[in-house]
Point group: C6
Chain length 268, copies 6
């Protein structure tokens, strides 16, 4: 169980807050679609704050069993004692339950969400022989990155059609500049340079790149600069390094970094 | 164990209620075939209500073991104590046992249903060394989506031939309009618009789409509209988002949404 | 352990009863080969009745471990206590042990049957450190459907050559008519119609069909008719539905149903 | 632990008894190679009898763990208590340990045999932290069918080169006749007919057949005849049935049966 | 928990110490990229020393479960008692947690690092129902060898973009000479010969070689020489042997060894 | 724990004893490369004897878990009690730990050897939360057969480069003759014949043979001869049988046996 944090810094891009709250009011489940590092986690934290609900986050992975979500029996004093999993706790408390990167979970694990995600709003716990009705305020939220979808790792249609979808992209240059400056504590000119660099990399359409430069890596570069690192070195470590392991592509990225960032380049 | 709910809102499409009750009276098992979101779960809830039987629902998944269905030993006070699974409870109580999305379960799990599904109506519980005769009223019901069938995930013929099959499709426009208006609490004109949109999408024959728009997503769009969202935004979130992650197809769906829904389009 | 039932309704097709009893008297193991729904289970029930032996049935599946057959240790009062599996019980009691759909079991599971199936008639229980001699009357019977055989799922030759084989097919029209009329409690003309329909479908040589119409599905259709359903509707639910999910093949089957069954067709 | 049985009926084919005893005296391990049903198990039983050693037999399978061979901890009175596996018992008692169909076991399981099979004659039991020296008289014997060998299921060379190999084939006609007559308790003319049939089938060189007719199936046919079954019916059940599931090949075998067996053919 | 060692011998190659400390001060996670044997482990040990933090090292492998990192319940006096894993200990103590060869771990295991690697710096422990905030000083460091990357074994982008990357290569000839002489306790001329040999092998661009000669194998050769082995024999055992099993390539390497190392060649 | 045996009969082929002892003195790990049956195990036994260290041997296999090497918790008197694995015992006692056929182990299992194999000489035991420093005298030795290497089963480079390699081949004719005569207790002429046969088979370059005749199989043939078996029969059982299952190749080998061994050939 997580203590509700202060409203995190989140700047809306479109009508995503409106759609989230409408779905929440109707008791519908919500899927957040978008690339890594674009702010999905922050958004859910902001929504939980606005709606005044506890937030339960589960990082999904291939090994996540139904028992990890729902609960299990443990031994205490020679007795098997039931301990709720995070999903069951959220159902009982009426919390927002956020399953991060849900396509990582096995398809069969997501099937246990069905009676909870549709009109029934029920969680059957077979090992206890009970069926819980979700408390008012309970809301199921999942996130995934459509770019990662594959035949093996994909949400089933019967799961998707139980959810309302909100698409996320990167913020506009204006908004992103504000976010980078504020999060990295650097001045706006430096932040604007980093955002221009990020947009230039995104325009490459991932030719050989694994994924485009996210807002997150721009912030990390800014924070290394704030720590006194030369901008070139900071961008190499925080942007080029995470984006590729390929020597040729790295060289291209370093040229872009030189072109976009005004730099004393101490170690060239 | 589930407390029997009030009769859910279910409008029959053909003779499905008649066939179900005939099979029930003869002690035959029943397979419901049809796409996701067309009302199979509601139908079983309505039948359980009409026949006055408790309903035990199991959402099937790849990890569902025989022990999850039949029962297992747990430790209590240093003793191993047997706890019935949902199937065993249904067999003892004479309940309707509904295995939702049964093709998700492993083939071998479904083999344990054989002595129960044919003339024997018996559940052998090997770990207890007993064979239970199903109580009067017990009825085994399974559902699956024929569109999902694959070489790996399929019901065995020896399982299929132990069951009577009822096919489900989407309701006619008239019936669907009534369902959408009633479930989303919107007026009939708006519901008719959504149903026309849904039928247009279904006529696309899933060209690139993963699956057609179900009655369920039309209801979800209606509920977002009821919450004050613009129809365009509501349909984007509840219909286009769940149906595809592809940018081109999304664009096509949004054009259809604009064409079919009268809208002020506040965020275009 | 199963209480011996009254002699089930079984009409012999050829010399299968004679072969079974000769093998039984010689202590040989028996393999029943034949399609699904042709009466193999009934036959074993009848033989157990005639020979006055208890019958222990195990539905085989991919997950069936040696421990499920032979037995395991469970905790009672802080002690691990051995509990016999169904095979061990049959060996001790001199019962007929029937392994239904044995090719579903893993090959390695069937290897534990070898010392029991040949001249040794012994069951070594490694976890107890004992070797049991089968009690007089013990007989190992397995069944499988040769049509399902594949490279992955097949009986090993060293297992097959430890058994005497009895082949099963569907009964002749005369016999099948009697069975359908008796089991479904319908008149002979109606039963004859259903049997003619079944034979017509079997002549299709499963062109696109998964498997031919078994005696079992003809009986199910008869029982729905007995319940008041129109013959067309009954045959659609009990015969066409279980045999295929393909729309074109379904249409062909419905035409055959119309051609063979005299029907008022109330819902066409 | 098995009580030593009386010398089983075994007629030597070549110098196999001499080689076995020489290897035994030298403390070398032994591999028996040959088709199914040719008498390998009987041979080991006879050798154990002649050498006056207890015989511990393990039927190998894909699921056989090292713990199944060596031993494991079980709970007794709240303590974990070690229980020897069959291999460990044989090592302590100086028994002959016979691993039947050893290629069925996983390669890694056979690796634990290495220190036992070579000059060390030691069994390290890692879970106990001890290394046992094999008692005098201990002898490791494995069997396999070279015809089953495949890339996946094969003995490693480092295992093979730790063993002396003895090849088995079917006995000569004379010897086989004597065995069939004695084991099935039928007269010599009938046994000679069966053996001639068996040799004819073996000459087919398994064209489409899975494996040739073993001595074991000839004995089974003889025993059904002794029980009063017509020779044709007996051979169909005990020879043709186990050898093939193919309709065309079955027809060919039935013709051979008619040609070789003088028969009243009561059910043709 | 590891006691902090004295500063290990580490000679910086570029600005890697500066980048590490900037990222550390900003609470960012760090990925070390580079070939095997180039000094990544030493570098982390030196950083932990300079920053005065405890160092917790985890060698990753395919079998490493989330429980191995986070902790598990063990039985003590009949109670299940929680025991922290190395990651949890590092989070509580504010240690540097070094996951060596992180691509060896399953992708799903690395997903549990996400909330810890980004702005949240939190470790949710689902089995305890708590979420830990990382103590000040906690720093997540991972290492991997980009040359090993494959489709199956690769860091996910959502993991990579949560980290700052530092690239490692082999040191310059000058620096490497100093390292080899110091670590192997041999004179500088011999060390220089070994380094020239190493550079020559690296220039082969791994034509048939599995990987180039690392600083580590040069040091090992030096240590064998210090032990009195002829240089030729030392280089054969420490350089040629680990780099290839191929006879032709071995011959080529031995010729290079003869050409670069002044040797009495006692065993040629 | 093994009691140190008397020095086993081992005749050195090249400088392998010198290299081993130099690496041992430097605390380096050692990999023994060579075909099966060439004396690697004997060599390690001799080295342990000369260096006066206890020897802990682990036969590696695919199923060997990290817990099998390092240790695990067992239940004693209701408490979980830690029991050291063989690797941990060797680390504590300063023993030589010999991992036989290490490529059989899963790659991830070998990763736990890394901190032990390099300059750290440490074994982190995550389940105890401790890191052990290897006692003086501890030495890690692994063996593998390069001929078995495959993409799936191979030592990782990061493991290989942590080790010094010693290559093994078969001894020269002179040495091998002495070994065969001494181990099998036969006269030198007979031993020379067997060695000439072995060399002839090795010259075939394994055309169709799985592997060449090792010193081990020559010794086994000698021991059967010492037991009174005709040389032809002994060589057939101990050499031809283990080397092939193919009828044509067997015939070729038998001709070579006849040509090289002077024999009375009692059973031809």
């Amino acid at each position: 169980m997580q203590v509700k944090p202060p409203r995190p810094y989140y700047v809306p891009v479109a009508n995503e807050e409106q759609v989230f709250k409408a779905a929440y009011n109707q008791g519908l489940s919500i899927a957040l679609k978008g690339p890594t590092g674009c702010g999905k986690t922050r958004f859910v934290e902001a929504m939980a704050h606005d709606l005044d609900r506890p937030l339960v986050t589960v990082a999904c992975h291939d090994d996540l069993t139904t028992a990890d979500l729902v609960g299990r029996f443990l031994l205490h004093g020679g007795e098997t004692e039931w301990v709720d999993g995070p999903l069951t706790r959220a159902v009982r408390e009426g919390a927002i339950c956020y399953l991060d990167e849900v396509v990582e979970a096995r398809q069969d694990t997501t099937v246990v969400l069905h009676p909870l995600a549709d009109h029934r709003r029920q969680l059957p716990i077979e090992r206890l022989g009970v069926t819980l009705d979700a408390a008012p305020g309970f809301c199921l939220v999942v996130s995934y990155n459509p770019g990662y979808q594959s035949v093996l790792k994909d949400l089933k249609d019967s799961t998707r059609q139980r959810m309302v979808a909100i698409e996320f992209g990167f913020p506009t240059a204006d908004v992103e500049e504000k976010i980078v400056a504020s999060e990295a504590a650097i001045d706006h000119d430096r932040a604007a340079e980093l955002v221009r660099l990020g947009h230039a990399i995104r325009r490459l359409e991932t030719g050989g790149l694994r994924e485009v430069a996210s807002t997150r890596v721009l912030i990390a570069a800014g924070r290394l600069i704030a720590e006194g690192l030369a901008p070139h070195d900071a961008a190499r470590a925080a942007i080029a390094g995470p984006l590729t392991d390929d020597a040729t592509i790295t060289r291209g990225l370093l040229e872009m970094i030189d072109a976009y960032l005004v730099d004393l380049r101490p170690d060239d």
